[in-house]
Amino acid sequence: MTEEITMKKIDAFAERGNEITGHETHVEAKNFSLFYGNFEAVRKVNMQIPKRKVTAMIGPSGCGKSTLLRAINRMNDLIPSAHAKGEMIFDGHNIYGKNIDVVTLRARVGMVFQKPNVFPKSIFDNVAYGPRLQGMRNRQKLNETVEQSLRRAAIWDEVKDRLSANALGMSGGQQQRLCIARALAIQPEILLMDEPTSALDPKATAKIEDLIGVLRENYTLVIVTHNMQQAARVSDLTAFMYEGVLVEFGKTKQLFTNPKNPQTENYITGRFG
């Protein structure tokens, strides 16, 4: 495939990425590209992520879906060679613009990672980490915040008696829910989830999926998954990415039953990927 043809295709699908459902937009990518050195991992994506909905991103591994997700709270800054082009609009500002306070950005956009990454501290200290960062020192307030976050992450009943135990002693599924609680404790508006169930067994996965169903009422959720059934089960909208390009973006039901793009169809019917 020549370079020219690729570019044309990108334009065509980007248009489609714009015509979405009419909900209030929370985050918007405008002609957004992300490079690792010379490699363009995300290519000129245009996408509007609606408020208080679950948006799933699917695609074969290496398609740039995780990179796009991590671009929303600028976690890619950790990689020295990474740099962005285009805009990512959040709260009226381009978060890659000048004078952006990355620390505040990350405090407003929570994230849950592929593998549960609890700190080797007590359960309480894990959840209290974020609030403490924001200057919360009052013990009672901290207790309230921790309890509330753990309740929201549906893990309170399991850990309420051992808040001072080391978090590494919990099972994988519990650890992941603790990570969700930890992210909720900073009271984010958006919660990014990067394949949150890929390291978990089916039972723990089901619990996390239930949790996502509850959380959608208060948060904007963006979830990357390689599991299409999961995307179909939990999300309102689904984006299909391939080789850094946003191929198709639409209502989940529609995308899975009646994909507009033949590539999407090939992927969801399992012909490649």
């Binding site: 500002h93 978060i95 004078n99 952006i100 306070d101 407003r108 924001q134 900073i186 009271q187």
Partner: protein, 375 residues
């Protein structure tokens, strides 16, 4: 609370934050370079005090004369015997440490089961941890009298220990080769005993000749070389073991799959693949031996003359490090005499040598890593 906080910082805040970050990073860089630039300080200050010596006395005498009388009238600074002494003990240490160290490394990486390795590793760590002055004490107080009183017996026992295994291997290989040439099964039973007998005779005659040797002084080059060899062992073992491990399991499996025995796998595929790492290990071992002070100062005899003949390990010698350690107390550094500066000249030689060696080993390791593809 946090929700209302703005994403945008004011220009001033942003600048302040950037400045803070820059300052912090600058501070870290400063501390880091302080500790790393100590190297330059060392080079500068050693060289600064070494140059006056070469200005006063020139190069020729220092490197070529054999007369070392720094306190004589006139003083003579022929450091050749000291260089030769240093080289001699270092060479001796290498002869002890390298074969033993590589064999032990192979054993650790390829032969021993995991739980035995867990016992052997601390042995190596303890060998590395024992302070050099304790080694020196052992060399002077225990080993030197032993050498002096039972020198012959120790030498002949050493001959058996070293030559025995090597000749045994040689006999097997040679016998096999001869058998192959003869292509007759019957002769096989004759060839091995003949070769074995020959080997035994060689060792025995050599050992009994050495058994008659009397060592007039236990503090000599041999003593120091053996102890330095033991001290350099841990370095050689651990670095070459790392190199052998880095060769990878796939390589070994490939060789085994072709029907090679373990020895053949190691000799023909693993060692060639990790030869550069082993070379680096040898270099580091040499550096350890050449830079050691206490053992040579205590147990080398400190005689600044070339042994006769030059390879005679049973005579006392003197090394650069021991000369620096021993003479600095007497050197009058207030007036800055040649006696003081000559020691810095020696230190500079040591420093330059170890710098070059270190660079060489780094380069070798880096190149080999590239070759292995870092996979």
């Amino acid at each position: 609370m946090q929700k209302s906080s703005s994403l945008i910082m004011s220009n001033a805040t942003g600048q302040r934050q950037r400045m803070g970050a820059l300052l912090g990073q600058g501070f870290l860089l400063f501390i880091t370079s302080l500790s790393t630039f100590a190297v330059f300080f060392i080079f500068y200050f050693i060289l600064k005090d070494a140059i006056p010596f070469f200005k006063l006395e020139g190069f020729k005498e220092f490197f070529t004369s054999t007369a070392w009388f720094p306190s004589g009238e006139p003083a003579e600074f022929g450091a050749l015997p000291i260089f030769i002494g240093t080289g001699l003990v270092t060479l001796g240490a290498v002869v002890v440490a390298v074969p033993l160290g590589i064999a032990a490394a192979i054993c650790l990486s390829d032969l021993l089961p995991f739980n035995v390795r867990q016992i052997v590793k601390p042995v190596i760590e303890i060998l590395a941890a024992i302070p050099s002055v304790a080694y020196g004490f052992f060399a002077l107080v225990v080993f030197a009298p032993l050498l002096q009183n039972h020198g012959g017996a120790i030498l002949s026992a050493g001959t058996w220990m070293i030559l025995g295994p090597i000749l045994a291997l040689l006999v097997v290989v040679l016998g096999d080769l001869i058998n192959e040439k003869l292509e007759s099964k019957k002769t096989g039973w004759v060839v091995f005993p003949i070769l074995g007998g020959l080997a035994l005779f060689t060792i025995h005659s050599l050992a009994s000749r050495l058994a008659g040797v009397e060592i007039s002084s236990g503090t000599n080059a041999l003593n120091v070389a053996v102890i330095l060899g033991i001290m350099a062992l841990p370095t050689v073992v651990s670095v070459s073991e790392d190199a052998l491990q880095a060769a990878g399991r796939e390589l070994r499996e490939g060789s085994y799959a072709l029907g090679a025995t373990r020895a053949e796998t190691i000799i023909k595929t693993v060692i060639p693949a990790s030869v550069s790492g082993i070379l680096a290990a040898v270099i580091l071992g040499v550096m350890r031996a050449i830079g050691e002070t206490m053992v040579v100062w205590m147990a080398s005899g400190n005689a600044a003359r070339i042994p006769d003949p030059w390879h005679n390990m049973l005579q006392p010698i003197r090394t650069l490090t021991a000369t620096i350690a021993g003479d600095m107390g007497e050197a009058d550094h207030v007036t800055g005499s040649s006696r003081y500066h000559v020691l810095f000249a020696m230190a500079f030689c040591l420093l330059a040598f170890s710098f070059v060696m270190n660079l060489a080993s780094e380069l070798i390791v880096k190149r080999s890593r590239k070759k292995l593809g870092k996979s």
